[in-house]
Structures are given as C-alpha cells and as structure tokens.
Amino acid sequence: MTPLLHLRDITYAYRTRRGDPPVLQGVDLDVAPGAFVTVIGPSGSGKTTLLNVIGLLDRATSGTYTFDGRDVGAMKERERATLAREAIAFVFQAYHLLDDLSIAENIAEPLRYQKVPADERRQRVADVLDRFGLAAKADRYPGELSGGQQQLVGVARALAGRPRLLLADEPTGNLHSSQGEAVVGALRELNERDGVTVLHVTHSERWAADGGRVVEVLDGRIVADSEA
C-alpha cells in the first residue's frame, strides 16, 4: 500500500549566520493511510518543525516528501496550497481559534476557504457541533469557553474540512488532564471512526502509552519508531 506520507532524508535548517545545526537532519518517515502516530520528544527536538513541513506550512531545506504518492517538493505554491486546504488540518496547542468569530463560524471557516456551498457548510457545521456536544455553544465566542472546550472546537474545526491527515501539535499542552483525555479521545475517535490519519505531537510520554505507533524525535532526528 502506498504510504500517505513518505519522507526521505528531510533536512530543515534556518539560515543563520551563527551556523546553528539544522532543526531536522535526515528524517525518514513513512505513515500509512489511517494510522495514528504519536510523535514524542523533548522541547526543541524538532517535532513542531517536522509537523510544519508535513503540513505544508513550511518547506524542507532538502530531502524528498511525497503525499499520497505526489511529490510535494515538485509542486507549485498554488498546488501545495490546494493540497493543504483540501487534505490537511491542524490542531494547535494554543487552540488558535479566531477571536472575532463565533464557535460555529470558526468551524465553518476552513469550509469557506474550500468553497463549500453555504447550505452544505451549515449542515456540516451542525453535524460536527452535534458530534462534539457543542451545539448549545454554537453562537458563543472563543473567549467565553474553557480551554478544553476551545480545544474541542479546534478538533471539530479540523474535522469539518474532512481532512485525510490531521496534525495535532501538543493539543493537550495547555489543558488539565481530564480535558486532555477528552481531546485525545476525540482524536482517536476521529482516527478510528472516520479513518483520518493522525499525527499527534506531544512531549508527554503519557499519551504514547495509549497504543499505536510512537515515533521519538531527538535533536532533529528520529531515534526510535515503534508500535506501543
């Protein structure tokens, strides 16, 4: 089976005068469609950079990256943007909801960019709100919700766009443990029920014990890759 993600010898370096070592060095990674991968490693190890490269928010300095068999490195900016918009979604540690938009509008925003027709957009937003138990809060604004609720909205927003790949960058980092449970549970459900491939980046080993594949990153390299 063609892996969804296929990374070979990926390097990422900031152009600095001090000659800092690259943030990512020779990363090889294959992820099958429908996998749930937990990426762990200490702060500064390069996890987020890896996620940004995979999520097309950043471009690798060198190496090969194919997404579902398509060579991302050879794509034009417009093609990359289209691929990112249609196939990839993010969940961030700091939630990154848009303060001026209500919960429902936040969830609808990626659909708007995907040019989903208004009727369908409304339907999909309503479905997702129901699924995450957020329907009663549809018209609230992010500032009115708790951190855990905001992160659930973040997951709901990611799901609404029907991505093939969901990249969650420390989604529980700002949450109490019970809230964290709920969020990771939601990610797992997304993976199992909807078949969305999930890369869950965390520096907490607690989530690694939950099963599935665990990839460990240290100093910009993958140092361990195992099924828990």
């Binding site: 987020t48 950079t49 940004n52 999520g55 928010l57 950043d58 943007a81 990112a84 918009r85 249609e86 979604a89 993010f90 961030f92 700091a94 990154h96 909801l97 848009l98 303060d99 001026d100 938009l101 925003e109 990626p110 708007r112 960019y113 995907q114 927003r157 766009g161």
Partner: protein, 792 residues
Amino acid sequence: MLKNHFALALRHLKREKGYAAINIGGLGLGLACCFLIVLFIQHERSFDGYHANADRTYLLTVQIPTFQDVNGSTPAGLASMMEESASGVEHVVRVANRSDVPVRMPDGEVQSVGPLWLADPGIVDAFTFEFLAGAPQTALADPSGAVLTETVAHVLFGDADPLGQTLVLTRQNLALTVTGVIADLPGNTHLDVGMLVPFQALPAFAGPEALTSMTDWNYRSYVVLRDGAAPEPVAEEAAALVARAHEYEAGEEVKAQLRPLPTLHFDTEIADRDTFQIRDPRVLWMFAAIAALILLIACVNFTNLATARAAQRAREVGVRKSLGSGRGQLISQFLAESLLMSAFAIIVGFVGVVLALPVFNDALGGTTALGLTHLGTLVGLAVIGLGAGLVAGSYPALYLTRFSPARVLKGDLSHGGGAATLRKGLVVFQFAVSAFLLIATLTVVHQLRFMRSQDLGFAQEQVISFQATPEIYNGAEAFKQSLLSQPSVLGVARASGLPGAVYSASNFLWPGSGTDEETAQSSQSLLADPDYLDTVGLELADGRWFRDSEADIQDAYVLNETAVREMGLVDPVGHVFRAWDRPPGTVIGVVKDFHFTTLRQPIEPLVITYRPEWMGDIAVRLAAGQVAEGLDEVQEVFAEAAPGYTFDYHFLDENFEAQYRDEVRLSTLLGFFAGVAVFIACLGIFGLAALMAARRRKEIGVRKVLGASVQNLTAMLAGDFVKLVALAFVVAAPLALLAMNRWLEGFAYASELGPGVFALAGGGVLLVALLTVSTQALRAATADPVRALRSE
C-alpha cells in the same frame, strides 16, 4: 465572501474601540479638511464658467503707451467701432460700475440699491442671469428701464410686484421703471450687481459726450464673439482702433487682449484684482497640496497603527493560512477592514464639513458660499475617502499577509524590522509637514504684525472718511464749516483719495534736466485741499502745502519724495511742472513719503494738486479720547446736509486693514490646517505610544524591578518619539525657510524670517508631541511590575 469580510471587519472594530476611534477620528478629520479644500477649489475653478456663452465671452484689456497697467478700462466709444469693423464680434457689452447709488422711492424715501451697473442690453448674452420677472431680451432695451436683483427688489418693494414700479436715481435725477428682476448672483462670479440700468443712460452720469468718448477710460468692455471666431484678430482690431483714435505714432505700441471669461478669475496679469476678484492660482495649488498632505498624515496613522499592531494580527493570519486561506483572500479581508473604517471616516468627514462650513465660508470672506448640495460632489468626495482608505490599508494588508504561518504560530515576529523603520519614517513625515505648516502660519502672522506696525507716514488714528453726497458736494464749504464748529472735530479735508485708497494715475510733464524738452511720466495723482496736510497728518519735507488762493488751484503741485527722486528733480520747489492737460505750473512743496496704496508695493511717485471740483472724499480728524462723541456730531451734521442717506464712514486705518484681508485669511486658514495636522499626527503617536508601551510591558516590569524610576522609564518611552519629532523639525525648517522667504519676496516691506518663528514652531510641536506620548509613557511606567511579569 465580501459580505463576510465586512461583517468580520465590523466585529473587529467593535472589539478594538480605541484603535478604531483613533483611525476613524483621525482619517475623518483629515477627510473633513480635504473635503473643505476640494469644495473651495471646485468653487474657485467654477468662477464665471457657468455662463451659457462663457466659451466665447471675453474681457477686453487695452494697454496704451502712457499707461501700461493691464486693467479692464476701455473708452465707451470703442464698442460701436468694434461692432462695425471687427468681424466675428457678436456684441461688445459696455459696463460702467457705480458703487452704492441711492434711489428715491415714490414715497420720497431714499434707499440704497448696492452696486449699480450701467450695461448694454447684450449683457444678457455675455452673462447668464436667471430672470424671475421680465424678459431678458427687452429688459434693458428701454433707456429708462432697470433690472433689480431679487434681494434689492425685496428691500425696495417688499412683497409687491416690482415690475412697472418707478424709482429715481437721486444724484442723476434719473427716473427709471423696473423692467426685470433677476435671481441674486451666485458666489462664483466676479459680477457684483444690485441693479442693472441700460448703458444708454450713461450721459446722466458722465456728461453728454460719454457714450462716444475715446478719452474717458472708465468702462469695461466684454466681447461676445460669434461661434468659432478667433479672439486674436478682434483684439488686434481693437488695438488698431485705439491707436488711430489717439493718433499714436508708429512705435508707440497699443496692446489689446481678449481675456476668456472662465479664466479671468486666475488672470494675475490684471492689475485691478478686487474688481475682477482675481485669485492667484498658486493659492489653489497651495491648498491642494495642504489637502493632500493632511490626508496623507491621516493615512499614515492608519498605516502605522496597523503595522504596529502586527503582533496582534499575525496570529490570525497564521491561523487562517493554516486553515487554507490564500493570501489574496487575506489581503481582501484587510482591505475590507480599511474600507469599512474609511466609510465611517467619510461620515465623520461629512459631519465635520457641515459643522465647519459656516466658519470656513466666513474665513474666506463671506462672499464664498461653499456647500454640500450636489450629489456628484458628495460621490466624488466619498470616492476620495475610500481611495484614502485603500491607500492607507494596502501596505498593512500586504505586510501582514506576508507572515509565514509556521513562524507566527510559534510567536516569531522577527521580520518586523522593515515596518518599524517605515513607521519611524512616516512619523517624521507627519511631523515635518505639521512643523512646515506651523512655520508658514507663524511667518504670515509675523508679516501681518510687521505690516501693521509700520510707520505709514501719516497719522492714521482718529481720522474717519466718507463720500460726499451730491448735496454735500454742492455745498462743500458750508458743510466743512458746520463740521469744524463741532467740539470734537479737529480738522476737515476734501480730496480725491485717502491713504490706503489712492488709485488714480495721470501723466505729468516737466522740462528735463539740461534740455528744454519736456519729459513725460505717468504717476499716481491725488487731489487734495489746503486742510489735507494737517487732517491726515502728512509732513512737509520742503516748500509749502496748498493755500486757499486762486494761484494754488489747478497749477500748483506738491510731490512726494519718491517723485522728486525718480523724476530727477534738483531743488524741486519752484520747478516748472504741469499735468498733461494743463499749462505749465510750479512745484510748491514736497511731502515726506507716506504709504498711500498698499504695503505690498513700494511707495510710488505721487503728484498732488488742488482742484476743488473733483474731490468727493471727506476726511475728518476727531479729537483723541472723543471719538464716540465726534462720530455722533459728524453723523448729525451729515444727516442735516444729506437727509435720507446712510452715514457710511470708515476709519483711515481700516483702509489698510482691508488690504491685509488676503493675509488675514491666509493666516486663519493656514493656522487651522496646521492645527489639524498637528492634532492628527499627535493622535497617531498617541496610538503608537500605547502600542509600544504594551509591547514593552515586560521590559518595563524588569527595568522597574531592577530599580528604574518612573522618570527614567517615561523618558525612555517618550524619548524615542521626541527624537523623531526633533528630526522632523530639522527636515521641515530649511524647506519652510526657502518657501516662506519666497512668499515674503512678494512684499515690498517684508519682515525678516528670524529664529523666533522657528523656535516657536519647533518648540510648540515638540511640546505637544511630548505631552501626547508622556501620558502613555507615564501610565506604562507607573503600572505594577509584578502583574506585568506574571502575565508574561
């Protein structure tokens, strides 16, 4: 999508009220100024362009060898000759302007009708009048007809139908019947008419030969050409006719020109600026530049605050990009925000214009009536406002949407350096413009004060002047004696003009030095009686003043010092001298130079003679401290001598004050716009200082913990801005020095542009800027450091 953009923008503005208020308020104020100036320029450019035949109507100006000033004076006899011989001429419309002429109503009451114009019937083809009653083509056909403006008709006849009513011009004893009523003239024409009377009635004003005279140069000629006719050949024909009539010899050039009606308002070659309401077109350019600069200052606030808030917006940009938004969508979202803000600013601007219009119209001198009445104008102004919003919003939109989502979501905003430099540059620009305008204002004020403080060469205080009515004119000596018998009246004189209002030139001849051949020179001339010297307070430099003797009437001459100098007369007293139309006379005295026209011009040669029959101005010197009583006394004598007339007097110093009208106007408007510029610029740094203080909150907290005092911190935060403002002043000062020195060159008596003006302007701008940013700096410096550090 667009609707969504605007809805979001509205929510954003609601949440960021302070930011929105600064932006909308500043831009609104800038737009209000810009709108006012646009209305003013539009009004000025529309001058006399609205007449139906404006494109083929011209003012004829003729320069003859002995009088080279370009003015609208032509002889009345020229019109019929031109209509006969020049091809392409449809009408030559002659106009004689008589200021405030009194009329007697059927019930015997004497009233004033404002300026009276004697005009050929073709005036209705040259100028467009809106006839409310009577027929345009026939109203002036009958020599005893009269056309009144609506206001004059109302003053004279109230609500009664004015058509067919009769009135009598008292001085000429000329009976007229009202044949038409026209709407009051708009503000954008140089015509100043209360009543139109057929030109055929001129003999009643100027003698039986007046209609055909080629020597009485007191009439304007407006030429209406046939469609497609070129003006140059007609002007040449007019020059040839004048040369032939005056028998000028070859080489004595007569120059004639047809000056298009729509550009007359800006024709600065014309010397008589008041009559034709000539405006220097550079003034319009100057105001256009001020409008653009003030608008730019307001746009800069918008741009600066938006880029300074990049930190707040960057996260949003990053998130949206990560959700799949393209850069174009983000740009259009930011532009929607700018447009929304400029839409609010336009409303603020319009409200500002409505509030400011009465004051602005007043500052422009009352004759201008700007208004927001045309839909086209409103739309045009709104487009300017939206354009400003787009200009101001485009850089922030491009700048903010450039952020890499991967970096900004990590909190990395490190590539903001370019924007910070631009922001500093823009603040320097704002304050440089403000300082420039302030220096310009102070220079104009300084020059005004300088002119007002000049020794005018005569005693201008406590002297009033007024025009003699026919009754007073005919009984001048008795009137003078009645006035002199009043306790508060110190002196009474009659003359053809008073200092500040001597506008008459004539030709004089005298034997040139070393030869017996006469030298001729045009010179300003004044007729004055024996009491003029003491009443007006002139001083003699040599010889004597006129005496009340036959010998001094007509052929005795008093010159001013400049005339003596320029004519090259040595020992002038006793020198043979004559007016061009008189036998030889003698110079009897020399007066010290005094300013008899304006301080814009150097003092010119002046020749004074004593001719009792042509002196229509009366000057009265009142005793110091008894001006009020004196005025009552003079008014009483006046009412007795000229019953029914209004006692319309001026103080002599008012004659000069009226000449400073342009400068007073300029200083008022410049001062206003400079104030607005400084205010908007300060609004900008107020907002920036708040953002900077917020951004440096943690740094301030750390510094405080390390022992920095409130003064240290305030100085640190305010110092950055003060340095920029100081730099702005350094940029503005030399430019202002250059510009204002050029402006001052237009005055014969100009003040020195000293360091005082610059110190005042620079100090003022710095102080206001310092006060503005200090409030923010002080707030940040006195905040609790523990909270700042904890929240980080």
